[in-house]
């Protein structure tokens, strides 16, 4: 973190160390014996106060990077929004101690993902109190893309990961790369797959290996007609990011994107229109159902009732969506690669992620970087991270780990999930972010819902969303 320039003090302005101003020319009461000691006391008190203030100010301004720690005991301040990360890092301390010259202790602060970024910026303005390590939920990292916030606050990892070459997936560097520099290390390769209830599809005679979305849509429409069961869900609730996320997963699979590598919006595209039309048609036929909260009670109820027998979602959804909400359905779920779109696109998509990084310019910056390298980038760490947290590796080679390939998942009926994930790793699309991403989420969510309702055609919804976005972006 760079020092913030402090405003210059005008010449002659009384500073905290200056003598008190001379007595007023207006005649006052004549000093009498006995007043001097009190004045002296007051002067000393004022001087002490001024020194204390100056000391505090100095601490505020220069409390960082007094001396860079290169070894020995160090207490890292870690900010994260997720208890899982907190526990994982706590368990990783002995390994990090062995892998580095440091002896680590962690002091963890946990808060909402958005609040963490706000707090980081506030502390940075104050010049003190920033963490040594911090996790940015991917959507909130977009806030760090504004101006030069990333370069000012975050450690540059570009040179550190260079030796890994293509093994560290470029798709997972993209969201945290600004002007060609990498500022955070992702916790996951959140590839999306199709989750389905094996028992229900068998019961209703729906093949689980339908090759295209169009085939799934036709089968889903028939299924809904007969049994009121859907094969997918989208969100139409008040969580705007969630509304966009369910659409964006299919958009990225189809080959579209929200932003390109230069952070320019790419929403107004044939792929986006086709994707939106596909969802709108699905909602009308009942192949898809809309829920108010994809991660909350409404989706949980739909899953428990068995009225949703399949859905597209990221790899982490099994751990954080299905298992907690429908534990009684353990053994009945399976995953497969997403069905393809007939008109083109890939085999998977992407949703989510959290980038961890060290805050730059601090005494503990290098200690934090060492800790993160040891617990986040090594093959052992990435395997352990999957086993403990359910997050897929970000290194290509780790997907071929015999240990991971042999893992059988109880919740998915003993399925070897990496037999599905491993072939997808090279198809994970890059997810580029923009400082104006929040604007797009806000405007797009509203128009998506209007299109879902049939109030607007997909073409019109996307055209208006793009137009509104352009009108609001880059203020």
């Amino acid at each position: 973190m760079k020092n913030l320039p402090s405003p210059p003090t005008p010449r002659g302005t009384p500073g905290p160390h200056r003598a008190p101003p001379s007595p007023s020319p207006v005649p006052g009461p004549v000093p009498v014996p006995g007043t001097a000691p009190r004045r002296t006391v007051l002067r000393w008190a004022a001087a002490a106060g001024a020194l204390a203030t100056a000391g505090t100010a100095t601490a505020c301004a220069g409390g960082r990077a007094a001396s860079v720690r290169t070894s020995g005991p160090v207490t890292l301040s870690l900010w994260t929004h997720d208890q899982g990360y907190q526990d994982f890092f706590a368990r990783s301390v002995p390994r990090a101690d062995r892998a580095t010259r440091f002896s680590y202790r962690l002091r963890v602060t946990r808060a909402g993902a958005q609040d963490l970024v706000t707090k980081l910026l506030a502390q940075a303005v104050a010049g003190r109190g920033t963490p040594d390590l911090m996790g940015f939920e991917i959507g909130n990292f977009a806030r760090m893309l504004r101006g030069d916030l990333s370069a000012r606050l975050l450690r540059d990892w570009t040179e550190d990961v260079a030796p890994l070459g293509d093994d560290l997936l470029a798709a997972r560097r993209a969201p945290y790369t600004v002007d060609g520099r990498l500022y955070a290390l992702d916790s996951d390769t959140p590839a999306t797959v199709y989750y389905y209830r094996d028992d229900l599809l068998s019961k209703y005679g729906i093949p689980a290996d339908l090759g295209t979305w169009e085939e799934v849509a036709r089968a889903g429409a028939r299924l809904y007609d007969k049994h009121r069961v859907s094969l997918g869900a989208v969100s139409t609730g008040s969580d705007l990011n969630q509304v966009v996320q369910l659409f964006a997963i299919l958009l990225y699979q189809r080959g579209g994107a929200l932003f390109d590598a230069h952070a320019h919006p790419t929403l107004d595209s044939p792929e986006a229109e086709e994707t939106l039309r596909f969802i709108c048609d699905g909602l009308r036929t009942g192949f898809l159902v809309d829920v108010a909260d994809f991660y909350g009670p409404s989706m949980q109820t739909a899953l428990k009732r068995g009225s949703v027998a399949g859905l597209w979602m990221a790899s982490w959804y099994k751990t954080f969506g299905l298992q907690p909400n429908v534990p009684e359905q353990s053994g009945r779920w399976r995953i497969r690669a997403l069905p393809r779109f007939s008109a083109g696109g890939g085999r998977t998509s992407v949703a989510g992620g959290t980038g961890f990084t060290a805050i730059t310019g601090k005494a503990n910056t290098e200690a934090g970087a060492g800790f993160l390298s040891a617990t986040w980038l090594t093959e052992e760490a990435q395997i352990r991270r999957y086993r403990e947290l359910g997050y897929l590796p970000t290194r290509r080679s780790v997907f071929r780990s015999p240990e991971l390939l042999a893992l059988e998942d109880t919740f998915c009926g003993g399925q070897r999930l990496f037999e599905v994930y491993a072939p997808l790793v090279d198809h994970v699309p890059a997810y580029y972010q923009s400082p104006d991403q929040s604007i797009l989420m806000d405007v797009l969510s509203g128009y998506l819902i209007r299109a879902y309702r049939g109030d607007l055609s997909p073409r019109e919804a996307l055209r208006r969303a793009t137009s509104d976005f352009r009108a609001q972006a880059s203020r």
């Binding site: 009498v32 806030r143 504004r146 109820t301 509203g446 128009y447 209007r450 009108a471």
Partner: protein
């Protein structure tokens, strides 16, 4: 207590000498009395300047800059204000806030008056119980309120649709997903939260209306409606003015309800100006733009509340 003759009071020279020393030193008779009042009120004004005037001036300065939240702000002049003029999202926020203000002043204030009138009725039992019951929504955490009402208004499993379906055979209303219904929901929550609180003010006002006025109206043969319009309403004018202005100011700055219940959505359908400011500053790192919107909100609220003050004669003797 020793009394001093009146003729001696008129002549200061005849008064006994004032104590000129405190603890053995001069008490400063010339300076003390002149400065003492200022010294006593100084703490308030020092804090007022530090925490009100300075932040407002900084906000005005910031509104003329571009600032991402760190580093030096870049001066851009009135560009932020020019952008606000063309920002459809800000226009929607202004429109929505206007709706909330109208709901507050034209619906909630009259409902609160009616409730107070009911509570003030002679012979009403459990008056205090009603008063507490009406006041409770005001002290419930907005987070809890949002949680409860998000369950009430859930399209698929909410109480509102279930009741409508059971009683009228209707249902399936997307309360929070439909732009118009979402605004209605926000208005209902405002009514639920604020009406009881405002009732307390009206009730206090009603209890101060002299009974003789009602007796005179009764003697003149006035019915209930005429008594209400000819006696109660004029007597409550100062209270009504105060309640209307404070309700207006609160509604113009509404944040909790739309933020917690709908996040301003769907789209910008329930976005308020205060939420617009929050979103610009803390989701988009556009602090200068947010400050400009804040200044516009301040000017609007200040101007309109001043007009209200003049029209309703708040603070002036009747």
């Amino acid at each position: 207590m020793t009394s001093i003759p009146a003729d001696r009071l008129r002549d200061p020279r005849s008064l006994p000498p004032r104590a000129t020393t405190i603890g053995g030193r001069a008490a400063g008779p010339r300076r003390g009395p002149a400065r003492a009042p200022y010294v006593f009120i100084a703490p308030f004004y020092v804090l007022y300047v530090l925490f009100m005037v300075v932040p407002i001036l900084v906000a005005v300065y910031l509104s003329l800059c571009e600032w991402v939240g760190l580093g030096p702000p870049h001066w851009v002049g009135p560009r932020n204000y020019a952008h606000l003029l063309t920002d459809v999202s800000f226009h929607r926020a202004l429109g929505n806030t206007g709706v909330y203000v109208l709901v507050s002043v034209l619906v909630i204030v009259p409902v609160a008056l009616m409730m107070a009138q009911g509570l003030n009725a002679r012979g009403l039992r459990a008056r205090d119980l009603f008063r507490v019951a009406f006041f409770i929504p005001m002290v419930v955490s907005p987070i809890v309120v949002a949680l409860i009402f998000s369950l009430v208004f859930d399209r698929q499993f909410g109480l509102a649709n279930s009741v409508l379906r059971a009683v009228f055979g209707l249902g399936g209303f997307d309360w929070l997903g439909d732009p118009t219904l979402a605004k209605v929901c926000i208005g209902l929550i405002m009514l639920w939260r604020w009406a009881g609180y405002l009732t307390i003010f009206f009730l206090a006002g009603l209890q101060n209306v002299p009974r003789s006025l009602y007796e005179a109206a009764e003697l003149d043969g006035a019915g209930r409606f005429v008594t209400f319009t000819a006696v109660t309403l004029p007597a409550l004018k100062p209270v009504t003015g105060f309640v209307a202005v404070t309700s207006f100011i609160s509604a113009a700055q509404i944040f909790d309800e739309p933020f917690l219940l709908t996040h301003g959505g769907p789209g910008d359908a329930t976005l308020s100006v205060a939420m617009f400011i929050y979103r610009a500053a803390f989701e988009r790192q556009q602090f200068g733009y947010a400050a400009a919107a804040g200044v516009v909100l301040f000017v609007l609220v200040f101007t309109i509340s001043q007009i209200f003050n003049r029209l309703l004669g708040i603070g002036r003797a009747s």
